[in-house]
Amino acid sequence: MYIEFKGITKQFQQRQVLNDINFGVKEGSITALLGPSGSGKTTILRILAGLETATKGSVSVAGQVVDELAPQARGIGFGFQNYALFRYLTVYENIAFGLKTQHWPATKIKQRVTELLALTELTALAQHYPQQLSGGQKQRVAFARAIAPHPKVLLLDEPFAALDTQIRRELRSWLKQLIHRVGITSIFVTHDHEEAIETADEIVVINQGAIEQIGAPTTIYNQPTSLFVAQFIGHSSQLLSPNLQGFKLPVRQSFKAYIRPEQVQVFRQNEQPPTTGTLERAFVVNTTFSGAVVSVALKWHGQALMANRSPLQAPLHHGEAVLIFIQQALIFTDGKSELQRNLQPAAAYAL
């Protein structure tokens, strides 16, 4: 592993902020540290950068232990949440700053900054000052400045938090492509699971100073191993010991089932039902149109269940009796999770 955290523990006065953090990051990959605010994810980033010191444990980058190294000697590019652009320097000077402090020759500096301006599409704004830039442009300057001196690792603290939804989406995919093109090993911190799933190659879910789960976005989304991850990532309906047809349920034992709305198909009585699979009766409580999907709140055996339905299908009425087919559920028993698919053949009915 290119970056390795071994037994990192951090205590602020009496408070345990991080407790025995162990994980590795592959070279050239993008890792997201995902967790709610106050979970300690930013502290992990700051410890790697050398802005904080771990109480116990050790961090290595490219096989070298960096614990005793000064922050500037670690070969790390750091992007703060608010970008922290130097407000009295132009875009060009901002990007060139780290190269000047490291005494690059003038021609090399010019060459590198010009190259980065082109890469981040900021050439036209080279002589602008930070206050004249939009949020997305500021983020790009911060990125260019951080990677200018060829650091081994790029760390970004909530890189998209200060942006509008639309720009955030654009910038996410832009940043992902760019990081992969440049090939720099990157870690970013976020509290937004969509951001982590869309941008990262690997996600480390952190809660209350400890790692909950590590895995690829699809694994984290589909197979959460803890109740926390199941609740924190994406949306799920939580049901208590439901009588799910077609699932192997624990016998004589209470359990929890987490069902994602996209795993529940909803049919009106007059719609052509799937040929196989047991359909169950539920009632429509409410529907919310949110553009791409219609979110359907259902009542099923007295419990609330959410489902998605295409806006192209016929609208549902409040109180209407409908047929549902549950494709997949996450069953939690005694703190263990098991992802189950409906054993009956899935409905041959596409949403």
């Binding site: 130097f86 009295y88 320097l89 400045r145």
Partner: protein
């Protein structure tokens, strides 16, 4: 807003404002000038070019310059410390910086007498090395520094706190040295409050009377600042001379205020 468009109120406020300014500011200043030149140009010029006056100017300017330098160094350091670092006793330090503003100048002077004067705590130390503090220029410098040192710190701390330390941290991570960070990142951001604080400190240092009067000992040619000289002349019934010296203080204060306006505009 109906209220704000009422002409009578506007005129009433305007008259009140000018009346107030006129009575407490313009009139006294005008009288100072009239009095200063009452015995003619010759007396005026003789007074302000006399040895005693020149010595007073020398002492006042020296005390002011020392205060400015101290203010710059202490003010910026204290602001940096308070805005950028967390440490135990931070709130206490922050409160103590304001002390000179809340303590009466006379008390401030007495503090230095008690500390450095005969029988004072540090008196044995300084008499051992034959340095006189109280009733000598060092006490004037000390008290002037004391009454002025909050100015720059007070102006700079809120600006630095609002700015945050991320820019400095980023610069440090990019390998910048302390002086590079200070001059290229921090200083451009605090230029205005530093200048503002220095102007206020200068005005206060030039005009300080109470604290200096207590520690000065009133020794002509040695420990008389301009303010003290004015009072001495006045007590000796040399009114014209007193006002003549006062015009020097007046002029320098106006100069400093104008300088501040210039600096803030840029």
């Amino acid at each position: 807003m109906q209220l704000l468009q009422t002409k009578p109120i506007k005129w009433l406020l305007l008259v009140l404002a000018w009346l107030f300014i006129g009575i407490v500011l313009v009139l006294p200043v005008g009288l100072v000038l009239v009095q200063a030149f009452a015995s003619g140009w010759h007396t005026y010029l003789t007074t302000i070019s006399s040895l005693v006056t020149l010595q007073a100017i020398n002492l006042t300017v020296t005390a002011t310059l020392i205060s400015i330098v101290f203010n710059l160094v202490f003010g910026v350091s204290a602001a940096w410390l308070i805005a950028f670092y967390d440490f135990p006793g931070k709130r206490l330090l922050n409160a103590l910086i304001d002390l000179p503003f809340s303590v009466s100048p006379v008390i401030a002077g007495l503090i230095f007498i008690l500390t450095f004067g005969r029988g004072g705590w540090l008196a044995p130390l300084f008499s051992a090395i034959h340095v006189q503090i109280v009733f000598a220029p060092p006490a004037i410098f000390l008290t002037t520094v004391f009454v002025t040192f909050p100015f720059v710190a007070r102006e700079v701390i809120p600006v630095l706190e609002a700015k945050g330390r991320e820019e400095e941290q980023t610069a440090a991570l990019l390998g910048a040295s302390f002086s590079q960070i200070l001059w290229q990142i921090t200083f451009p951001a605090i230029k205005a409050p530093v200048a503002g604080g220095l102007v206020l400190a200068t005005a206060r240092a030039l005009g300080e009377f109470g604290a200096v009067a207590v520690v000065s000992g009133n020794i002509q040619g040695k420990t008389l600042t301009l303010s003290l000289l004015v009072q001495n002349l006045y007590n000796d019934f040399k009114f014209n001379e007193a006002f003549a010296v006062a015009t020097i203080l007046l002029g320098s204060t106006i100069l400093v205020v104008l300088l501040k306006q210039r600096l803030l505009k840029n």
